[in-house]
């Protein structure tokens, strides 16, 4: 079974929702210079006169995708002013699975439209047009040759399905008692996950190469290792990612950067509170999946236990680090 029917971030505005938690925020701010560099190169190579089409794949909802779009808009404005060229209008597609909470995302954008547009709104009207594009990025999402810039943060490690090959020939689970690769998993488990990642990521970049115009840019930020639980999820290494890109052949790698972030709140000194925040972050991403698989009734006791484990970990002053990879790819074409 594919995951597109039930995979989504926790909806709405609850205390444990994705919009209220998600450490993507700090990742996005760390990766900002990489995204800005990609835009700089894109603008320097010549802009379309009419409209610049942008997609944020796996946007989820809430402020993160808004921050990304604002960063892109500001940088395009700044570059156009510097170069003295006319600023194109922006058509922005926010993509996620059809079960994503697009209603909240749209409301958030409209509440903050003035901030996105800057002073320009009201003067010569809107310059940035937002649309939601529901669908799996393991299928085509946009017409051929229609996108100039693709951004995706912490999305392409979500696999299209739980890898096959996790049960023996007689149907016994080979990774018993675990829901992801762990230190004691037998080797076919990591092989199955890696193969699924290779298949999925190849199809991800092949599909995007059809949708992107020549020379367009794609900015991917991937999560390398957060050794918690997970199911249809694979945190590939730089080498594993680069291998897929090279084999597929449509893109040149322009930037590849890794960075580590401590996901604990630095200002917070109370370990109980600090651990609680980290646990809530992870809950906001994992709850819909866990609850779909194991049932809603396990959720509260599970996350209570998980929170205690995180707090124990933090009290011992062990770091909770998130290692990320940011990559900018250029659709091969004219130089």
């Amino acid at each position: 079974m594919g995951v597109k029917e039930f995979l989504r971030m926790s909806n709405g505005e609850r205390d444990t929702s994705y919009a209220q938690n998600s450490f993507n925020r700090s990742v996005i701010s760390t990766a900002k210079p990489i995204l800005e560099k990609a835009i700089e190169d894109l603008v320097n190579e010549g802009l379309p006169s009419n409209v610049l089409t942008i997609a944020d794949l796996g946007c989820a909802f809430g402020p993160n995708t808004f921050t990304v779009i604002t960063t892109i808009k500001r940088k395009v404005e700044k570059m156009c002013n510097e170069l003295g060229v006319k600023q194109p209008e922006l058509q922005v597609f926010l993509n996620d699975l059809p079960g994503n909470d697009f209603n909240s995302t749209f409301k958030f954008f409209f509440k903050n439209y003035q901030q996105l547009e800057g002073e320009r709104i009201g003067e010569d009207g809107k310059k940035c047009f937002i649309a939601g594009a529901p669908g799996s990025f393991y299928e085509r999402l946009f017409p051929l040759n229609s996108l100039h810039l693709v951004h995706s943060c912490y999305s392409a490690h979500w696999l299209s399905r739980v890898p096959p090959g996790l049960t023996s020939e007689v149907g016994i689970p080979i990774n018993r008692g675990k829901i992801y690769i762990s230190n004691t998993s037998p080797s076919p488990v990591s092989k199955a996950y890696l193969e699924q990642f290779q298949e999925d990521f190849t199809s991800f970049i092949k599909l995007r190469s059809k949708e992107l115009i020549l020379n367009a840019r794609m900015g991917l930020i991937e999560e390398e290792k957060l050794d918690s639980f997970n199911v249809p999820y694979y945190t590939a290494s730089c080498e594993e990612i680069q291998e897929v890109i090279d084999k597929e052949g449509s893109f040149d790698t322009k930037q590849l950067v890794t960075f580590a972030l401590d996901i604990g709140d630095k200002e917070e000194t109370n370990m109980q509170v600090k651990g609680g925040k980290v646990a809530k972050n992870i809950r906001s991403v994992s709850e819909p999946l866990i609850s779909h698989h194991f049932g809603h009734e396990i959720i509260e006791p599970l996350y209570e236990k998980f929170t205690r484990l995180v707090i124990d970990h933090m009290v011992k002053k062990l770091p909770i680090e998130l290692v990320s990879i940011a990559i900018t790819l250029q659709r091969k074409g004219w130089k």
Copy 2:
């Protein structure tokens, strides 16, 4: 105060929701030949080779907008087959106010994607890409020169605001006891509504003329008269509509058709049931507005009373007719 903050159809799947009721269904099927003729002319004049961009303005949610998009897709396919030309991919924007239930709309489309795509899906993949474009159609929604076809059914009679001038100089409401133009309303009331319609509809077509490419088509279906209640709403006559179009000057009128529909369920002989259905239809469109203005507590008693009035009306065998106008406009340009 504008209406874009609270105007929307009743959400979700409830018995009184828009998706479950709405007589737009029969209007859409009656207006189908007019839409098909507009597409025929558009295709005959030459298609873009890559992508045909379509917008459904005021899409609400549920099956109506799906039916419209399916009609467009089938007609484009049929025309391309007949003419032996390559079928372009379709980029479809579903527009409504940001408070619309886009989540339900997206889920509906994905549940029925196979039906929309026909046999083509899986063979050479998707041909029709759906996106939600939230915003008021009294503001710009899309980049300059980016649309080939605009469809809008029962939307542009919703005004951008309750007309000013409905209170006297000393602040006394001049249309006391009513919430729309009625037989006993003083004449400044209809004047105020007409002027607001002229202002709004002029801005509607002016904005669309910027977004449409030359020669593109716009298919509008308007509600002429349904003498119930209403607030930021004006059901213009053919002449009033044509006058605005001529004055604004960007479009040629290609088709203008009026038709009347009995909105009672013809199969239903039990007048209680028949009247109840009509009342629910009207509730699905009006409830959010009434409830925003008068408070949620009046809703149940109000619609109970309204249902009894509708049933009385039907028992007397009086028709409940909806008069509609369908117009196809062509963006002026090369002939």
